[in-house]
Each structure stands twice: as C-alpha cells, then as structure tokens.
Subunit: 258 residues, 2 copies
C-alpha cells in the first residue's frame, strides 16, 4: 500500500480537489483528508489495472508496478486495502460533520464503484479489439477516468462552500476535464516521450484499444480536445471561478507532456 | 457481482447480524441493508481469495468460482465493485441516521480493511509453508475470519439497542465465534464430505497451511473448539442474551458438517 501511494505520480485528483475548494473560498486544510482518500482510490485502481490479468503493465510512474515488486497476491490485497482504507479515512475525518461524511462517502462510492470507475474499466476491456464510436469512447472515459475527476472538483466545491448550482456546474466541468485528460492520454501514447511518461508508449496499439487518434486522426483528436476544453471553461465561467487555479490546471491537463 | 452474491452460501454473517439485532430487542428490518452490505464484503473477499494468484480455487459453494466463469479480470472488478457497493448501500440506507451510518461504516472499514480481514489474508499467505504457533493461528483467524463475524454480532447489537457494556461483550463473543468457525473449517478439511462442503477437502494439506488439527491433532483441535465455545457462551451470558438464537447459531457453527 505504502509503496504505490508514495512512488510518485502527478497527484492530479487531490490537487484538483484542493484547488476547487479554494476557488470557492474554502480552506484547503479542511479538504486534505478527503483528497488523500481520493488519491488512495486512484492508486488502488492503478494497482489492480496493472495486474497481469488486466493490462499487464510492468512499469507505472517510472517504477516497477506493485505486483512486479510484491507479487500478484499481495498487489490484489494492497488494492483492496487502499480501497477500504480510503473510506475509513473519511469516516474518521474530524473536520467533517456526519452529514458531510455521509454525502462525501456516497459520492465517492458512486464515482468509484460499479456505476462509476469499475463500470468504465469493464467497458474498456470489452471494447478491446473492437472499433468504438465517439459516443462509446466518451462513455467509457467519462466513467473510467472522468468520475474520479468529477468527484474531485465537485466535492472540492462542496467543501469550499459552493451553492447547488455551482456544484452542478463543477460536475459538468469535471466531466469535460475527464475527456480532455483522456484525449491527451491517447495523444501521448502516439506522440509522447517514453522517458517522460514513465511507461512504454504505443501500448494502446499493442492492446488493440480504441483511441481518439485512431478514431479521428491526430488532428481530429486535437480538435476534439479543443471542443472539450471550451465546454470545460464555459462551466467554470458559469460557476464564477474561471479566474482560479482550476483554469490553469485545465490548460495544463490538456497540454501536459507526461 | 450478481453471480457470486446469488450462487448460494450459508449467509452466516447476515444471519448473525439479524439474530444479534433481535436478541437485543431490535427489529430485523432495520438491519437488513447493513446485513446485505456485510454479505457483499464477504463475497468480494471470496472472489479475490479464489483467484489463481491467491488460493486458485475452481469451486466455491459447489459452483464454479467467479474467475472460472467470467475470467480473471472481470472477477477482480466484480470484487472491487462489491466492496465499493457495500459502502454505498450503507450510506443510502434510509433507516439509519447519519451518525449511525458513520459509526457502522467506520466499523465495517476497520473490520474488512488493512487492519482487519485484509491483514488476516496477508498473514495467512505469509504463514504458508511454515509451522505457526497457536497464538499465530489465533491472530490470523481472528483477523481473516473473526473480524467480519465480530462486526456482524457487534453491529447487530448496536442496531438492536444494546448498551456499551453489552456491545463490548458481543465483540468478545464474535472473537471466539470466529475461532470456533475456523477450527471447524480446519476439521472439515480433514474429516469433511466433499459433496456437502462444495469444494475439495484436503486443500490445506496441498497448500501447506497451518491448521488446528496439524498443530494440536484432531482430538486437540476438538478440545480447543470446546474451550472457545465455553468462552463464547460466557460472553453471551454476560451480555444477557444466552437464551437467544445466537446460542443455537454458536452450537451450529461449531458442529456444522459443511
């Protein structure tokens, strides 16, 4: 558990959660445990995702994957442990009221469970060796990657004191942010630098996965990313936080080189 | 998820939870969702436990294990999904207050996570091919099997309206119940009928696992079971519920033939 949590990574989800909290005037400290729990959920999903029975990846974040270091059985348990512990962390967070805890736990379970990330993972597997439509790609990625990003910005806003309409806009923002993130992931798998990304490029090709560049061409994928970007920024504007760090993070996620 | 939840099984944990609730004068209906969530946690642990990287079992409850039917990747996700959904179910339980939900979620995470069942699972793996002492066996099983049984009777009592001292006694009761359950499991792996158990006997021998019969002999294991049984019944008596269905369930778990 500790190995995979501390091995590094961009910490995008906790950063987004804290930035969103701050954008609405909240104190980052109040959201810190929830942000840690979210990163644990993300880390568990990577550990299980990397297993031989799933994507069979030997490297992640430039380091050996969990099962390469500790063996498959321990990696499965490390993932199970992180998933369970993330819920424990939120129930024990002394800065939250019981009402807040229940709301956040429900949102987290929903985002990461069989109606969220787990569903996205399954759809992603089922889509291998098939050509997916743009709609199908969007569904897969909005679940697999988008749901946790959505949770990050939505719950950050909630803890920062956003009103219901603002929270709704942040949900929309998170949805498009997830798609931006994924298009860029797909683009990097074609054009990226292996040394920067920390894992081999071209694995989508090897795994016969549908990607934005395959479906739309590299140019088309770039244009699609711009379209998502515009919709994301519009949601930020409607929520009244277009001047915040969230805007910079959106630009960064769409143009990152790793 | 549905396959493994509905394939059968003894439903011991939810039955214990409901019986414990009733023993303290509570209404079973109030505890039904929590009982279902508990059975889902148990089922997830079986799915992951049966995986090739773990115990590599082809049969469970007389039926093909999850990964034999759906493949390893789907089985891993089904377990992840059930684990996450069990927390979701409790957060959505309309019969509980937020305070009750948070208390129950914390207890469930603690019982099933890296300080509970997941730790027991890891210790169990690490104990393979080694001779364990009675103390080590008790630690492994109190975590691996005991923690969820403890949760069942403790939270049943809590929802039934037990006072703190009674809840403390039920925790003790659950601890010994877990050990009784495990001794009998070990005994059945030596003397049991494969057709009744629904999985091959003698697998402990094949997997080089330390068991009560190996450590104490078959007679010694029986005696140890009786000692646990006495301590379990004493806890029930102190809690004032020795006349309840819980007493019968204790006798049943110690003498079951599958």
């Amino acid at each position: 558990m500790e190995y995979s949590v501390t091995v590094g990574g961009k910490r995008i989800r906790p950063i987004l959660l804290l930035a969103s909290c701050e954008a609405f005037g909240g104190q980052e400290e109040k959201a810190l445990q929830v942000a840690a729990a979210l990163e644990m959920i993300h880390t568990y999903s990577l550990i299980h995702d990397d297993l031989p029975a799933m994507d069979n990846d030997d490297f992640r974040r430039g380091k050996a994957t969990n099962h390469k270091v500790f063996g498959e059985a321990t990696a499965i348990l490390a993932g199970d442990g992180l998933l369970t512990y993330s819920f424990e962390l939120i129930t024990k967070d002394q800065q939250l009221t019981d009402k807040q805890k229940v709301y956040i736990l429900l949102e987290l379970a929903n985002a990461s469970g069989p109606n969220g990330m787990v569903a996205g993972q399954l759809l992603d597997m089922e889509a291998e060796n098939k050509e997916s439509s743009l709609k199908e790609l969007e569904l897969i990625h909005s679940l697999k990657t988008g749901k946790l990003l959505q949770f990050a910005v939505k719950i950050g806003a909630y803890l920062g004191g956003a009103n219901p309409e603002q929270i709704h806009q942040m949900e929309k923002f998170g949805y498009y942010l997830g798609l931006i993130f994924q298009v860029q992931d797909d683009i990097l798998d074609v054009t990226g630098d292996e040394n920067k990304i920390g894992k081999p490029v071209g694995s989508d090709e090897t795994n016969y996965k549908s990607t934005y560049p395959k479906l739309l061409g590299l140019d088309g994928a770039m244009k699609q990313k711009d379209a998502y970007h515009q919709l994301a920024v519009e949601a930020l504007e409607t929520a009244g936080v277009e001047g915040s760090l969230l805007r910079e993070l959106t630009d960064y996620l769409g143009n990152r080189d790793y």
